[in-house]
């Protein structure tokens, strides 16, 4: 099970355009495209609309080391500057999620079993952003080509999963999932749409992603402002102690 905060937030990263023969192949390619095994550093803006007419834009710097270690740190607004979240999923049975709140100068571990809880008002849950292991999570019920893209109907493999299934449209060139509808009791409860796909250093990434919660009016728009792949990040960056080192 791969858990990828950064990549899932953004559907970043490149993927190869390998020709998919089966639905399972397409899903595996989508997973690889959304979650490439590389070091990456990016800055993105996150505009959260609460469905009641108010919105707030946050700026976040994210680091990814391989596909298992992630760090995100808020840069703005000023009152949350320095707040950081560290996710280490090297031990698949015991995820490590640490939150650092600079106002208290305390890093606290977040229980990993709360994956279905909402993550910081984004409309996404920890599970949404930490799990891009599509092949482990879903089985392909059916797939078809819709023009250049692939449309997949997915069913959850796991009992007690937050979602029963998903409908996914995979970009035929980049293999990034450009539209994902997550289902509960047959209804769409969340929609992730990649509105802009970018390519940098040979990697495809979701330059602009919109998360919508149908019925609530809530919406989060995430846009990549800068991105650096193959960044050769120091492992010490992904330690609890490093969370404090920010001014």
């Amino acid at each position: 099970m791969k858990k990828l905060l950064v990549a899932s937030l953004l559907f970043l990263l490149a993927g190869t355009g390998a020709f998919a023969q089966t639905g399972e192949d397409i899903l595996a390619n989508a997973e690889a495209a959304a979650n490439p095994d590389t070091d990456m550093e990016a800055v993105l803006s996150m505009t959260i609309s609460d469905g009641r007419g108010a919105s707030e834009t946050r700026s976040v710097r994210m680091y990814q080391r391989g596909s298992d270690q992630f760090l995100m740190r808020f840069l703005s607004p000023a009152d949350i500057r320095g707040v950081a979240l560290l996710i280490d999923v090297q031990d698949r049975d015991d995820d490590l999620i640490y939150l650092y709140l600079p106002a208290f100068r305390r890093e606290r571990r977040i229980a990993s079993h709360v994956k279905n809880e909402e993550f910081m008002g984004t409309g996404l849950t920890y599970e949404d952003i930490a799990e891009i292991d599509y092949s482990d999570t879903y089985e392909v019920v059916s797939w078809s080509r819709t023009g250049p893209d692939y449309a997949l109907e997915l069913r959850s493999k796991k009992e007690n999963s937050t979602y029963d299934g998903a409908r996914m449209v995979v970009d035929g060139e980049s293999y990034l999932p450009v539209r994902t509808e997550l289902l509960q009791d047959g209804s769409v409860v969340k929609r992730l749409t990649v509105e802009d796909v970018g390519r940098h250093q040979g990697y495809w990434y979701a330059a602009k992603t919109v998360v919508e919660l149908p019925g609530s009016g809530r919406r989060t728009v995430m846009e990549i402002e800068s991105i650096e792949h193959d960044a050769s990040l120091d492992g010490a960056l992904f330690s609890v102690r490093s969370l404090r080192r920010f001014r």
């Binding site: 009641r52 106002a103 208290f104 229980a111 809880e117």
Partner: protein
Amino acid sequence: MHALVTWILRHRIAVVLLITALTGFLGFKAWKIQINTDFVTYLSNDSEVVQEFYRAGEVFESNYLAMVIFDPSDGRPLFSRDSLTILSELTARYGDIEGVTSVLSIANAADVKETPYGISIEDLVGTEIPEGRPDLDDLRSYVTAKELYRGILLDDAGESALLLLTFEPSADHMALAERVISQTTAANGSTEGFYFGGMPFVMYSMSQGIISNLSLLVPLILLFLIVVLYFAFRSLSGVIFPLLVVAVSAVWAVGILSLLDVPLDILTAIMPVILIAMGSADGIHLMKKYSEERRGGRRPTEAMRESVVELGVPILLTSVTTMVGFASLVVSDFRIIKTFGLAVTLAIFLALVVTIFFLPPLAALLSRKTGNGVDNWDDSPAERLMDRLSGYIHQKKKEILIAFGALTTIAVAGIPLITANVDWSLCLAKNSKPYAAEMMLRDRFGGSLPLQVSVKGDVTDPALLQTIQHIQEVAGTQPVIENPRSVTDLLSEMNYVLNDTYAIPDTPEGVAGLWLLIDGEESMDQFVGPGDQEALIQGRVTSMATADMSASTVSMGRYLSELPSRLFVIDKRLLNPQGRLVVSRLQANVAAERLSRYLGLEENERLELGRRLKTAVVRSGPDTQRPVIESAVSSYLRSDRSEITISREETARLIATAVAEVIVEAPSGSPPNPDDLAAELAPFLPETTEMDRLWLADSLLFEAERAVRQAKDDALLSQLQRPVLEKPSQASIEKRVGGIVHEATSEFAPISVNDFTQNESLLKAGLIREVPLEAALTGMVPVLTEMENRLLPTQIQSVAITLGVILLVLVLVFKSLKLGFVALAPTLLTVLTNFAILGFAGIGLDSFTALIASAVIGLGIDYAIHLVTKFRRELARTGGSEEALRITLRTTGVAIVINAVSVGIGFEILNFAAGQHIRIFGGLLGLSLLASAAYTLILLPALLLAIGGGRDSRSLGHLSKKGALV
């Protein structure tokens, strides 16, 4: 009148057909009429509280709070797998209903806790329900211990749970209430074990009650009247025609309201009942006269013509006076009372039209089928009784007047005892499930009616949040306000889990960090408005009676109005020692007040506590801080958390001493910064990088501040020992007390404009921001209390106008001021009697009981006009007052008795109504009508004789002169 009735009788078939067709059309419209039980619409829209109610509803997506109690009644405990599964399922199902904006229960309430795997913020119970009994028992213990939700979502015993639902303001709340009930049935198989309360369900129950009353009780009253009237008249025509007038005019009135898109509300729904009382009287008098004419040998048409000619003007007059009585309600600020007044005025007018246009041709047409209209009352028991009564009045008029004088005095004495009180729970029938729900909500969950305080400003600012917390604490001390909650509870709880402090963080950054963790939680929408620019404190009131609410809302309103419009946040580190002391003392005062409220201390204890806290604040100077800082810094340096771990104790001690020196000796108003401290650290840590020393300095300053703060907290807490805290402290009390004290030791203090202005020269150096503040009561409670405030003056005004106008009409008609007053006297006494009953029996004056006076005036005047008119006519005819009175009472008197007995007792059927308010209304109105009839038949004749001054026609001659009605 003669020409009119002749024309009507000549075209009787066409008139009857036309009226029948019109009745059919309006009957169809009446069937389609809408029902409105939304209390807020009962006040005029230009009312500020109503506008505020709607505004708050828009901002927070609803202020209509519906509540579903789940109290498993089949032997299953609440904390069983089955029950919790249903609770969880219903939480989801209700949330899926379109128009339901939020659902909150223990299934999805946010729970912040420390677990062996870290901090978690998750659903309190969630969807993964444990199976085994031990696990379920553990869960029960855990959830019932949650102070944040105990008494809100779960009763103290952990036996019943509450689901809180908010509805979109613009949604059809009746339909939503029905869908909630149907979803409950779908999930549980039935609604057994579920109780539906809160305003949307109260409104739903009331609308059901209105339908039940209209469809069952009104026909039942009519049936009762038929029986009584039949025994009175002993003829079908005497029964059918008066009631036909009522039925047709009621159908017309409701049909016209429907045509005008005016929905029935809890008052206009009783209009048909009022009409039975008002509308049937004229018909009864007319049919009584008709039967007398028929008894005299006249043919039906002729008899009806004579009856209408003789009674037409009195009927017109009685209708006009009744209409005046109800039309006066238009002065009310209550839209509901205004609409009711106009609707009943219309209905009385229609009853007049029907009496004049429909009854005569119908009676003439159907006289063969319905009998000859002649009652068999030749010297009936009633007439013999009236003969004896007239003789008694003639002989004992002085005694009668004295007795009524005494009665008036007693009645007047009862009026000051009246309390204006609109108890909306009376709209529910006792022993009904909605009433049981209301009582359960009061007993277990602090009530059903939300009390809301809106606080506008930057809700993420700690200064504003602390003020919200203080307002909430004040609300909690009010007699009928229970369980006030706000976003500060969640934030304080999170801060407790993260930092062992049950308080709002001092800095915007601290608040923002916590806010991030709960952003998007369902419960946040109920407490925080869009853009975090408004917060809502939500409590519940344990009563739906406005008299109970009033005291608390007035007290809260006063407290809120005294809050400053701006808060000045002072950073004490930037002040000189004198300024620090000023602010610290203000903080100590606030803490003493809050602690006194929380612990329920007496005034003298509060003062003593304030004195002690101020003393403790003064003692907390640099000398006491130095060892605290040294200890904390030394400890940190040797821990593995330190950016640069120091293994040698001596080195750690030296650094700690240096750090303490830097902090304690920092110039006044210029707190040390990490860069300066990092430079001080360099000689002790030569092998380290500048950046590492900077990180370390940053942490050391923080650790030192934290330790100093803790020492101050401890110093203040030590002042709370005996005699203040004599009771053994519970963990929850210590938690909250610790939080209050912690706020008082903050380096950031919000102070009021006044406090700042008074000490501006000392404090301006520390002013870091100003925080605008605006707080006001909002929601349903102010709307209901506004109703109570406006009711009594409105009612006095309405009764005064009615009596004045009626007196004027009587004086003009009778051409005698004295006679006008005399005719008004029995009605006046009936109104007094009615108010006296309210006062002595402790029945609150509400929008229902207030209307009884209007109904009584309308009907009582009818009795008086008919009696005076008849008396004057007979006086002129016979020339003797004794004979005139005897004949008047035998004829008009009997008609009054028939009307009063049939209608008065008929109203007692309302004791079977769906709502207690209707029962009280029916019971009191029935009694009042009987009293009105008795006063008219006893007091009025005695007064008439008394003002005549003698026993014959000469002495009473002025009464019969130019008698327009004769």
